[in-house]
């Protein structure tokens, strides 16, 4: 039985961390300030207090406390709040990979797409950013205005995963 539960997580701060220049120095300052490296494309890094997920070449999605990051960026980048426009959903249970194949185009069934991996893709016409939390759960960051439509699509699709 392929099961999956779809839940919406409470609103929490979410920022865009963008670097426009001197990337190597920013990376160095970041490591010094946070104790972990800026994650590579398609990966996340950090801890429960501060997590960065990279979906774009020069942009990281930041969850948690950003107070240290302003100094890290200095004049080489900017932080911008975006939490209002994003709904944070969690797909949990053994069926999450199959669910993501419904209406999708990205290989979420690949074993290489494991905990700590991130990918942005399109599912049922909606731009979705995925972050694998564990073998058993994957987070999805969904544009607010489309979240109702996608949630409905996923609820329907979750009922037909078998076969």
């Amino acid at each position: 039985m392929t099961e999956v539960t779809i839940t919406t997580l409470p609103a929490a701060p979410l920022h865009v961390f963008e670097i426009w220049g001197n990337a190597a120095s920013v990376a160095k300052r970041f490591k010094a300030a946070t104790g972990f490296a800026l994650p590579a494309t398609g990966r996340s890094g950090g801890n429960d207090a501060l997590r960065l997920i990279r979906f774009e070449p020069t942009v990281w999605l930041v969850e948690g406390d950003i107070s240290a990051l302003g100094d890290v960026l200095a004049d080489d980048g900017a932080l911008t709040a975006i939490s209002g426009g994003v709904v944070h959903m969690r797909l949990s249970g053994p069926g999450w990979r199959t669910l993501l194949m419904e209406g999708g185009v990205f290989d979420a069934e690949s074993p290489a797409f494991a905990a700590g991996c991130s990918a942005a893709t399109i599912i049922d016409h909606v731009n979705v950013r995925l972050h694998v939390v564990s073998d058993d759960a994957c987070d999805a960051y969904v544009p607010l205005s489309f979240s109702q439509g996608l949630r409905h699509f996923w609820k329907q699709a979750a009922g037909i995963l078998a076969g």
Partner: protein, 911 residues
């Protein structure tokens, strides 16, 4: 026991029967009528290539017309009906068309039915009624369809012996494997010929594939081979007409494969001879399938016509089942078939058949120059084998000609695909030429195309294979030419006096077999593939039961009627509240970009055609953007929130386009700039408060003096931090409040409380339209229609004199400043209400000189006013024109005026 019905009569079937097998089991030979001549037709094949036995299966919104009886497995309660006949299948009035067949030759309709187009429509009415096959359902489909992606290293198409082995090898080599089979059981040719590898081998192999992690999909057809090894599979989760177990009738798979192995096998060819379409004439392998797989023997006295060895297996199968093998007509010279133990006639080519009451009675043939005839109720034909090369060709492959098999086989491909098994190595056959009269020698059975039609097309100059196909309709039926194409090519080659490969080949395009439209649409059939975009404040609006207005994918409140008001009444009340007191509205959908960095102003002066850099911190301005060709494509406001941080707003409808434009300019044209431009359209919900008392309302809400017009401050409302922009679209003193969307409901409630307390109102898009038209503000998609220059819209004085903005070059083109351009004007009615969208004409009957882009009523004084575009409009103020809408039978006499009907001096913005 399974029961089903055909044309209203109940029958029983056995588990695993196709509908064709079940019909034959019940002695039903007549199943359908052909397309053009309504000739009686039976079951010819046992597969997806079936041209004749088409029925409608299912009822209501689940009814599937034109279902091949050979491609539906009977379930309890299946309802099937015959098609294209009236009043019934055995007595069909339409069959009189057969008598007229000599006149209805290929292309006959091109040569007659002249006269006016109306006259053709008269004839066409009857032609349309006679054409078509089944009836489409008239109800909506109750079931759903799923789309699913899959990725694999190896996709194997066809689960015959070759396909099963290939899938097993790949799976056990550790590859991700998908094996698909269009049948509902595995084995393909092994099912009718189990001598070498039996059911146990099939079962064991399948188990090993699954055990190695392979995925096996039955009842699944690889129907399209697209770019870069993407293959679409159509999977039936329920049979046609059947109520699906979990509501999903079919699934469409988009499979991206590392490698594709095609093990499609081949399709047996019929032979061309007179009356070769009669019920009782079947393909040899198909007949063998009915006997061996289903245990159905649909006749007692069998004649076989063949040009190859394979048909002898059919003779054996029928003999084993107790039928009499009357004769085997082998086109090959002796000693072919000599040791078969059957009565074999060599150098034998079929001539014709006779029948009675839609059954076969006898078969005649030319044997070594002499005509012979046999009584028979069943004729099995085998004209050779056509490898299924469809997917290989869809993938962009080439073909080789195999002379021994008289068949095209797959050669090279630019994609990663190989063909194995029977399709790569078809059985040898003897090349034969039809000897029968071409007139009733059918090659495309469903569309009633005969050899004579091919000959006629040739004589009339339709000689390329594509012309032939189009002129005769050959290959255009629901079987897509699977049985007919080789026969037609053969005839064409004969006419041209060349070998078949030189005669040409039609293209192979998806789908391999017809695909249900609902499946192609998937979940999108319900919402046109366009999710509604829901406002952050949706619940608050919905509670007030507003009239909604679609705007792109958004739905926004158009008006909030109370006490049974009409839209117009509600909108007018709301607009009056704004003019007289205060109103509030949801402006969340506006495009918004937060632009940060030392180069933010420089970047914005590339995007915007106005200046930006002079703005002081805390100030904002109106701005507009040009396309590269110099025309205005959007407008909005730009605000300096901080030393190096700006907020840019632009239109809702242009939001996605603007987001891409900004990204293009930043990433592609200006990668060196120190700037971050983030789309915050959905991050911020927006509330506009407008009206003479708006300032007082806001002061109460934020507990401080609100900013002056075109200024911005951060503030706090109900404990929530907000950004206040003092901007006005309505023409009144007004403020836009931006809040993180997840906190917007709290702020909305606080604002609403205060607005209502002073007797204000909520207002929707309709009132906003009234307000902005009266004020003479532009709207993107209305006045800004993508064909207007800044000058046409009287915006040219705001252009950045320093240039450097996108569109400056385009604007320099000569025609953008020539006389005769359409220019923005105001219009006020002298007589009648001005119809929105109407044409501006100087007098009745004259050609339009402009149009009305938006119309409304003066909110306080009444009277119809409008904005429009008019040729040389700036110099025509005072002229009287007609705003005419012939499609609505409305018109108004209008005077051309300046496009400002309200407070043109802007005094109401001042405190």
């Amino acid at each position: 026991m399974i029961t089903f019905s055909f044309d209203g009569k109940a029958y029983t079937a056995q588990e695993g029967d196709t509908l064709a097998a079940a019909l034959l089991r019940n002695g039903i030979g007549l199943v359908g009528r052909s397309f053009k001549y309504h000739r009686p037709r039976g079951i010819m094949t046992a597969g997806v290539e079936e041209p004749n036995a088409l029925v409608t299966v299912g009822e209501g919104g689940r009814a599937e017309p034109n279902t091949r009886a050979t491609d539906v497995f009977v379930y309890d309660g299946l309802v099937a009906r015959s098609q294209n006949r009236w009043p019934n299948l055995s007595f069909d009035v339409g069959s009189v068309l057969g008598l007229a067949a000599p006149a209805l030759s290929a292309g006959f309709y091109y040569k007659t039915f002249f006269g006016s187009a109306k006259k053709w429509m008269f004839y066409e009415y009857f032609i349309r009624k006679a054409a078509g096959l089944g009836n489409a359902p008239t109800q909506a489909d109750p079931d759903r369809f799923s789309h699913r992606a899959a990725f694999c290293d190896v996709l194997v198409v066809g689960a015959g012996p070759a396909g099963l082995q290939a899938a097993l090898d790949a799976a056990e080599a550790g590859k991700r494997v998908i094996l698909v089979e269009q049948d509902n059981i595995l084995g393909a040719s092994l099912i009718r010929d189990p001598q070498e590898l039996d059911a146990a081998w099939i079962e064991a192999t399948a188990a090993r594939i699954r055990g190695a992690g392979g995925r096996i999909l039955t009842r699944t057809t690889a129907s399209g081979y697209w770019e870069h090894d993407l293959v679409t599979l159509t999977q039936r989760l329920s049979e046609p007409g059947q109520t699906p177990a979990n509501g999903v009738a079919q699934r469409l798979w988009h499979v991206r494969a590392g490698q594709v192995i095609l093990a499609n096998g081949s399709i047996e060819r019929p032979m061309a001879f007179a009356h070769n379409d009669r019920p009782g004439v079947m393909l040899s392998q198909a007949l063998r399938s009915y006997v061996r797989r289903f245990g159905v023997v649909p006749g007692k006295r069998l004649v076989i016509a063949t040009n190859n060895d394979d048909a002898y297996k059919t003779a054996q199968a029928l003999k084993d089942a107790g039928a009499q093998i009357v004769a085997i007509l082998d086109a090959r010279p002796a000693p072919a078939g000599a040791n078969s133990g059957h009565r074999v006639y060599n150098d034998a080519v079929p001539l014709s058949t006779k029948g009675a009451r839609h059954c076969l009675k006898s078969v005649s043939a030319l044997v070594d120059g002499k005509t012979m005839e046999w009584d028979a109720d069943l004729l099995a034909v085998s004209g050779g084998f056509t490898p299924v090369v469809h997917l290989h060709m869809q993938a962009g492959g080439t073909l080789d000609w195999n002379e021994d098999a008289q068949a095209f086989i797959p050669a090279s491909s630019r994609q990663n695909v190989t063909t194995i098994g029977g399709a790569a190595d078809p059985q040898p056959i003897f090349k034969m030429v039809p000897v029968s009269s071409p007139n009733k020698s059918f090659i495309d059975f469903q569309n009633d195309v005969t050899l004579a039609d091919v000959d006629l097309a040739w004589a009339e100059g339709y000689r390329s294979v594509e012309h032939l196909k189009r002129y005769t309709t050959l290959g255009m039926a629901t079987d897509q030419g699977k049985l007919s194409n080789m026969a037609a090519l053969g005839r064409l080659a004969e006419k041209q006096g060349v070998a078949i490969p030189e005669a040409g080949l039609t293209t192979f395009r998806p789908p391999y077999t017809p695909v249900t439209m609902g499946l192609i649409a998937g979940a999108g059939a319900k919402d046109a593939g366009a999710h509604v975009r829901r406002l952050a404040l949706y619940d608050l609006h919905a509670a007030k039961n507003p009239i909604w207005q679609p705007l792109g994918y958004w739905f926004r409140p158009r008006a909030y009627p109370i006490n049974g008001e009409s839209l117009a009444q509600a909108a007018l009340r709301e607009a009056k509240a704004v003019r007289n007191n205060v109103g509030m509205t949801d402006v969340s959908t506006l495009a918004k970009f937060e632009v940060s960095g030392p180069d933010a102003a420089a970047f914005l002066e590339i995007i915007c055609a106005t200046t930006v850099s002079q703005l002081a911190v805390g100030r904002g301005r109106y701005t507009f953007m040009l396309r590269e060709d110099g025309f205005v494509f959007d407008d909005g406001t730009v605000w300096r929130l901080d030393e190096n941080r700006y907020l840019l707003t632009s239109s809702t409808g242009g939001a996605d386009r603007m987001a891409t434009h900004i990204s293009y300019v930043r990433q592609y044209l200006c990668p060196h700039l120190r700037v971050s431009a983030v789309n915050v359209q959905e991050h911020y919900a927006g509330i506009a408060i407008a009206g003479p008392t708006a300032k007082a309302v806001l002061a109460t809400l934020i507990g401080e003096e609100p900013p002056r017009h075109m200024s911005t401050v951060p503030a706090v409302i109900a404990g929530i931090p907000v950004i206040i922009l003092a901007a006005s679209y309505s023409g009144e003193r007004a403020f836009e409040i931006y809040i993180t969307a997840s906190d917007a409901a709290t702020v909305w409630a606080a604002c609403e409380g205060q607005v209502m307390k002073v007797g204000g109102a909520l207002y929707g898009l309709e009132a906003m339209e009234f307000l902005r038209i009266e004020k003479g503000h532009l709207v993107v998609g209305g006045e800004v229609d993508g064909r207007m220059t800044p000058h046409d819209l009287a915006l040219d004085k705001m252009l950045n004199k320093a240039g450097g903005y996108i569109g400056a070059s385009g604007l320099a083109r000569p025609a953008l400043s020539e006389a005769g351009r359409r220019q923005l004007v105001g219009l006020e009615a002298l007589e009648g209400d001005i119809p929105e969208g109407s044409m501006l004409i100087p007098s009745e009957g004259a050609s339009p000189q402009g149009h009305v882009s938006a119309a409304a009523f003066r909110i306080i004084e009444g009277g119809s006013v409008a904005l429009g575009q008019l040729v040389d409009g700036f110099s025509r103020h005072g002229e009287i024109l007609i705003a005419s809408s012939p499609t609505r039978g409305q018109k108004a006499r209008v005077r051309v005026v300046a496009p400002h009907f309200y407070d043109s001096a802007g005094e109401r913005y001042r405190d």
